[in-house]
């Protein structure tokens, strides 16, 4: 038997993704924020030898061409012709949910309804008569509680039953749009039927309605059919005139009013009985505090602060274990691999580089888990609501909060999902401003760099320092987007019409699955891109080697030191003398190591850009790390680790000694206060990593991606040079 193709539709926050996961057993993303599912998700299900193939449509409130998601959802129904559309409804907001149902029914596709959140509805004293709803709409209706998987089998059974029965044929579904519109809709539909080849899925009546709604997407599809589109537009103009005669409305306003009238009549025929739908629910009570004029912003700052605190307190121990583990591996390498290129590559290139990055995995896991929890809880929508007024003054949108947070506005994000998440922003202008500024955020990779740097210089106030770095990143996002919106992206504000979804306790499975998914990406990146970059950077820092004459010079110096020490300390015990000689020679080794690094390709690149970066005071290790970190920001830490480990060849490798990268950097006198300020800001603001640039190009075009690269680089350099020069003169 052929598999049944099911498209799963529903409004944002209706539990559609949760039900999709419950059915397919997959790990699709579940969110409490409008429009979280943009990617296409597919899955399978089997029931009594019957295969089902499911597609998860983006969550949309309607099916107009208003947003990308709505066009995507509609295109799947029109072009792929699923056997059945499964539409999930939020029972607690049934009327609004039915608005989408009505529009899908007008597309005349076979349908099954899943009444989700029945437990919440009952809890709120809502009485929903699902049998009555099924009877009135002539569609199977199943009561569900998606978060516990209730109703899953029943849904799939009724889909199978619908396919088995002869009901799979399209059934006409007509709403009356009143005496002014109905006759025109009829004649438009007839015209379309005459002109279009028969058997097309979108019913003529639906196309007529879309023309009346001034739907550009549908109009463009009708254009190839001779003068059909023009004729229809003429009729639509006539309709508009007629509607205006009878009131000051527009056809599309009248259409949605009539749809809601139809829904109200359904509801009044006994589908819902409730005491009072305007009564505040538990979420309203929580919001009295959580979005309170004074308490709301304070709680928001508190939440941010605790995220830092929890991450560093909980993460410190496992991070230490991982560091010790990698130190031990390096010790093994130094002990058992014969001295030479191979050992240098494995210890200095691979272990130090990848180890420095991988030891942050526990921190990333903790941060992501908290971020996913807040997202699924519904708190992020409140954040958007609270900050919209401020964001608007800077040319952004309250909804920009989500992409910015994903990009690292709370620690541990990543600019790539952040930029992709901008799809939920309706306005092209605010979307562009958000995309271009999101990479300033302190993503997980930059976090690792800042953790090392703060541990090196502000070890007693590491949490506070990190907090300030993140606050600074937010300030720069606002500042730069204001600049962008004044110059290259001018334009008006877009509407902020947004649902505040009820607070819902996230499922452990949903949060864990999503957090793990992100952490796994991080680990995979460490094992692939970062490993490759580490080896490449190691090679760049190792070759070409010092010429033989130089090597001979250092050998000579070592011999000299030995002879001199022996001469100065005649009569010392031989063991003691040996130690003094080694200490003296270690200094030469370090000198040689540094000289070798400066002679290497990396050192030469660094020297080449030095005249420019000297203005900003970067130490050469930071200089070269910045170059490498364009591949992935994690490479900053791994390159610093390699650079500091290669300049520091310690013969008595001691696994217990404090060999952390932070300690090595902290001990380097090159890092004065102006340097620290300049490096901190440059790391925050300069060019996004390669993967982000590619993502920006894909989400916008190459022109904007190029602006992002050149613009951020210039801006970061200007800021860093200013800070370094001003601080140097003041201090």
């Amino acid at each position: 038997m052929a598999s049944i193709r099911v498209a799963v539709a529903g409004q944002p926050n209706c539990g559609k993704s949760t039900m999709f996961n419950a059915i397919t057993g997959g790990s699709a993303r579940v969110g409490n924020y409008p429009g979280i599912t943009v990617d296409r998700l597919e899955g399978r299900y089997k029931l009594n030898n019957q295969e089902f193939h499911l597609v998860d449509l983006p969550g949309t409130y309607s099916l107009t061409a208003y947003s990308l998601e709505e066009v995507v959802a509609r295109d799947v129904i029109v072009n792929e012709r699923p056997d059945v559309v499964l539409c999930m409804l939020d029972s607690t907001a049934l009327e609004r949910s039915l608005y989408l149902v009505v529009q899908i029914m007008e597309m005349e596709v076979p349908m099954v309804l899943g009444l989700n959140m029945m437990d919440e509805a009952r809890h709120q004293g809502l009485n929903i008569n699902s049998a009555k709803l099924a009877e009135l709409l002539d569609v199977p209706v199943v009561e569900c509680v998606a978060r516990v998987g209730e109703g899953r089998e029943e849904l799939m059974e009724s889909i199978a039953l619908l396919v088995d029965s002869d009901q799979l044929k399209a059934r006409p579904f007509k709403i009356s749009y009143g005496p002014q519109l109905d006759p025109i809709i009829e004649s438009m539909a007839r015209l379309i039927e005459d002109r279009m080849p028969p058997g097309q899925l979108p019913p003529a009546r639906w196309l007529a309605l879309k023309v009346l709604e001034d739907d550009k997407d549908v109009l463009n599809r009708l254009r190839p059919h001779g003068d059909l589109a023009d004729k229809l537009l003429e009729m639509a103009a006539e309709a508009e005139a007629r509607v205006k005669e009878h009131g000051a409305s527009y056809p599309e306003a009248l259409i949605s009013d009539r749809r809601y009238d139809f829904i109200n009549s359904l509801v009044e025929q006994g589908v819902i009985s409730r005491e009072n739908d305007l009564l505040p629910g538990y979420s309203s009570k929580a919001d009295k505090v959580l979005t309170h004029r004074l308490l709301g912003p304070l709680i928001l700052l508190g939440v941010l602060w605790s995220m830092f605190y929890i991450t560093f307190i909980l993460g410190a121990a496992p991070q230490g274990w991982l560091q010790t583990f990698f130190n031990w591996l390096a010790y093994l390498g130094n002990t058992y691999i014969p001295e030479g290129m191979l050992r240098s590559m494995i210890v200095s290139g691979m272990l130090d580089g990848v180890g420095a990055v991988l030891s942050f995995t526990p921190l990333i896991l903790i941060m992501f888990t908290m971020l996913c929890f807040l997202e699924d809880l519904g708190y992020m929508a409140r954040v958007a609501y609270m900050v919209d007024r401020i964001f608007r003054s800077f040319g952004l949108h309250g909804m920009s909060v989500m992409p910015l947070v994903m990009a690292g506005g709370m620690p541990g994000g990543c600019a790539v999902p952040g930029v992709m998440c901008c799809r939920t922003l309706r306005s092209p202008k605010e979307r562009l401003a958000t995309i271009l500024t999101a990479p300033f955020m302190v993503c997980g990779a930059k976090t690792t760099a800042y953790i090392v740097l703060t541990a090196a210089f502000f070890s007693h106030h590491a949490t506070l320092a990190m907090f300030l770095v993140v606050i600074t990143s937010w300030l720069f996002v606002l500042l730069v987007s204001r600049l962008l919106r004044w110059t290259v992206i001018k334009g008006r504000y877009t509407p902020f019409v947004m649902e505040l979804p009820p607070y819902r306790l996230p499922t452990v499975r949903g949060v864990a699955a999503h957090a793990w998914e992100r952490v796994w990406l991080y680990i995979k990146k460490a094992g692939t891109v970062i490993l490759a970059m580490s080896i490449l950077m190691w090679a760049l820092m190792t070759f070409p080697q010092l010429p033989a004459s130089e090597l001979a010079k250092y050998d000579q110096m070592r011999k000299q030191v030995a002879a001199q020490t022996k001469h100065e300390h005649k009569g010392m015990a031989p063991a003691q003398l040996q130690k003094w000689v080694q200490a003296g020679q270690a200094k030469i080794d370090k000198l040689q190591g540094t000289e070798a690094l400066k002679n290497s390709y990396a050192g030469r690149v660094s020297a080449f850009i030095k005249p420019l970066t000297d203005l900003a005071g970067f130490p050469w290790q930071a200089n070269i790390s910045f170059v490498g970190a364009f591949a992935a920001k994690e490479v900053f830490v791994s390159t610093m680790a390699t650079a500091y480990s290669m300049g520091d060849v310690d013969p008595d490798y001691d696994v217990d000694a404090d060999k952390s990268l932070a300690a090595r950097i902290g001990a380097d006198p090159a890092w004065t206060a102006p340097v620290i300020g300049s490096v901190f800001l440059f790391l925050l603001l300069y060019t996004p990593c390669m993967i982000t640039v590619v993502t920006i190009a894909r989400e916008t075009n190459w022109k904007w991606a190029l602006l992002s690269v050149v613009g951020s680089l210039t801006f970061a350099l200007v800021v860093s040079v200013t800070v370094y020069q001003v601080m140097s003169r003041l201090m």
Binding site: L94, D257, F496
Partner: protein, 76 residues
């Protein structure tokens, strides 16, 4: 008495009389169920007094004050 949604105070109730929004904004407002005849109650305002949160049709919707200006409401 008919007033703009913006002028309503917290917890005040009313019934939508007219929605004077066109284009994208109008479509968005209507999609969310803000059509004439809908009963609503002002649930709260954001810390800077804007946007406003309203309770209607069993859920909570937020919109900016300048958007609320376009909606006239019949209040007692």
């Amino acid at each position: 008495m008919v007033t703009a949604l913006r002028n309503m105070s917290i917890n005040q109730r009313g019934k939508i009389k007219h929605v004077n929004a066109k284009g994208e904004l109008g479509r968005r407002i209507r999609d969310m169920g803000l059509v004439p005849g809908t009963e609503l109650r002002i649930e709260g305002r954001a810390p800077l007094n804007d946007p406003v949160a309203i309770r209607m049709r069993g859920y909570t919707l937020t919109l900016r004050n300048n958007e609320a200006d376009l909606i006239s409401v019949e209040v007692d």
